[in-house]
Amino acid sequence: MRVLNITVNGIPRTVPLEEGRVMLSSVLRESLGLTGTKVGCGTGQCGSCTVVMDGKAVTSCTVPAEKAEGTNVLTIEALSEGGVLHPIQQAFVEAGAIQCGFCTPGLVMRLYALFTENPDAGDEAITSALDKHLCRCTGYETIVAAAHLAKKKMRGE
């Protein structure tokens, strides 16, 4: 049987892969029980399944499992390990950026990748990151506010 060797949220894992096409999203959700990663479209368009792979935001529903071999993946569960919200998560709560919550983990992970790589990411970079996601509830207003609040919090402002 095929296996995938992958480090998820700091823990090295060896995951058996079934026959046929297996995506990183289903490894995370089905094999590892990390259901905070959501699947909304299966084609990388809605962004709900976004996780951070080797420092980059990726849509895990379009990453074939074998392409994740040897990588280091962070999911939403890692951000509040120990029960303390990450500043980005805190910003989403404070800005009222959450309605149904299905798109939320993906957005948080996208911003995590963005602000980790560049804490000074400008408005354009923030907009372009958020534009990779679909939210049907909020009209985006509060999500944009949350992103800017998150940047401030991460910079300790």
Partner: protein, 776 residues
Amino acid sequence: MTLQHVGKNVPRVDAVRKVTGEAVFVADIVLPRMLRAKVLRAGIPHGRILSVDTSKAESMPGVKKVVTGQGCGMLFGTCLWDQPPLAVDKVRHAGEPVAVVLAETENQAAAAVREIKVEYEELPFVLDPVEAAAPGAPLIHEKNGSYRRVEYVVHPIPGSNVFHRYKLRKGNELDGFAKADVTVEEEFEFPISSHAAIEPHGAICRFGADGGIEIWASNQAPFVLRDVLADMFGIPAAKVRVHIPYLGGGFGGKSDICIEPMVAYAASFVPGYAVKLVLTRSEVFTGSLVGRGMKGRMRIGAKLDGTFTALKAQMYFADGAYGDTGWPVDTVAGHNCTGPYEFPNVTVDVYGVYTNSPNVGAYRGYGHPEGQLMSSRLIDMLARKLDMTPAEIMRKNFLSEGRKNALGQTIKKSNGDLSGCLDAVEKALAEDPLPANGERYLYGSGIASMMKSPKMAANAASTCHVQINADGTAFVNLAGIEMGQGVQTVFAQMAAEALQIPMEKIRIYSEVDTQFSPWEWQTVASMQTYRGGRAIQDACGAILATAKETAAKVWNCAPALIEYRNGVCIHPNTGATFSLGALSRGFMAPDGLTVGAPLSATGWYRVPEITEPDPETGMGNAAGSWTFGAQGCTLRVDRQTGEVKILHFASAFDVGRAINPATARGQVTGGVVQGMGAALMEKILFTEEGVAKNVNFPAYKIPRLHNAPEKQTVVLLETPNEEGPWSAKPMAEHPIVAVAPTILNALRDATGVEFTKLPVTPEKILEALKTGKEGI
């Protein structure tokens, strides 16, 4: 007394669970002995099933069972029983399920689905509702008219594809148009669209050894689902248990029964196993429910001073292969197509038509956006004919105290302030004057007003159970579904207010379970704050009455003399107090002797005196509440690309009272963007062969951040009223109702072209800029 919790922007009670990924949605649930389901869909829009060969699929690795509709005699429904859980002898739309494979993994089930062979005799198909309603159209249901139905409300025309006809007759149309100095008339289209909640539909069902059914589903109507399954399988409702986890958006797309009967039917063949199905995004388009699908014509007559004399409308709904979820939308579209205006004479005919497309069900606004697209656009056209502003015509005809709506109901002052809403929108838009048209860009502004009333069963009610714990905390249990609208948060605010205790002391039950939750009709029609809130008030009132009775027994005084304030009962003379916690199990003296009832109470609310419309006139007390509003926008059209940018979108609604202004604003900003998608982007397209083709993102475009308005203004008016809890009225679907006509009115201002068919895409705008008129 000053409000402590109601009217405050408290943080959502579900926010932390959702932002950490901890909130459980149906796709996250794993049960012991769980099989995964994959569905074979027809792939052709209309045909007779000649044979289904599942032999190869059954022998595939991991496959436990292949279920087809062969021999299935069940039809399910709530008011019209016309749909089998799986196609039996015919397929009526390309997304109709024909077989379900149950296997150990999704991949195994999918592989087996590919090996099922079905032979069809293809039949002529029809997608257009006007063509489908015409004589000689291919007949989609030979049995139309003879299906079991609730005869008072569903009115089929046998021998045709019209499975529901609603007519409204107020006053005399001929007299009304005879009195008119000016008339405007136009045809309109609101295409079939997807709710596109980001969470796809899912269900997990298990038949127990005791013959009971347990189901977990992404559904807004657990008790309806329970009763539908009990009816379908001929078992007592007491043997069906429905669990509803968090919903990743609903917008009505999860309010009707759709995939659950199919999943349950498949699960019935493998008792003891749980069967899980989560739709792919493509299947959400083809195999769940869609919205709108209206083709209509409307005519308005007015005097020279702008006073309306008559309205006549016809609407045809492409309601899809089965009609149970479409007919009430059709009726409501008829009730409310007049918008927030008085028309003395009204004639409306609505036809719910079977078409070879996915079933239309509830979609945010429920018939109101479809009908009011027509009236709101026609008022804009009328204004130019009369040389008045649209706002002047609106103000002249607004529903206001003493005026009668299309159903003949008399409006009270407390029903809301339309003029105030319109004033607020005009004031907001005036803040950013439009730039002059230039080489590259054309600019325009438009406005529209709206009303929405909830459509509900006449006996629809909410019930609530409240229980006080010994430490003074309160458990509050209702079956309102949290699907993003914030119902759990406003429930907590209202319970805290009614009990006069801090929010932290309230626990709102977060998973709805028909075994433990008190009965609720369903989470639709924007009714949870309003109707659920009244049920909370009722239950909390009963708690406080019991607390006072117990305290009165201990203090040996009359209960009426006891004051209750901030969580304590106060002795009329001594000022001694008992906390709610101290009275929670009755009052126990030091020796153990206990008096008084435990603090556990139920409450309920039903909007009073609702009736179904009269079958002859279509009029009656069919709506128990109205929320009024107005919207306006300024926008910019790019002459080179045809792209539209909304510069400023302003909305004002008379919500009676905003229980949580921040979440109410979130409803508006989200509804506006969703409505903008309908106006400019969204339409399910079909191939020549009758198969839906743009069935994923981005082929079906919904608004992203870069599409959103540059600025939104939201004004919430609060006219006191006797109806809602602390005056709060329905406010959730409303922000979508007038968005499309607002934008189309602004596009008329910018381009001079009268757009009447949605969506107005960049291609359509470029063509219109060339030809000066709307293309096909």
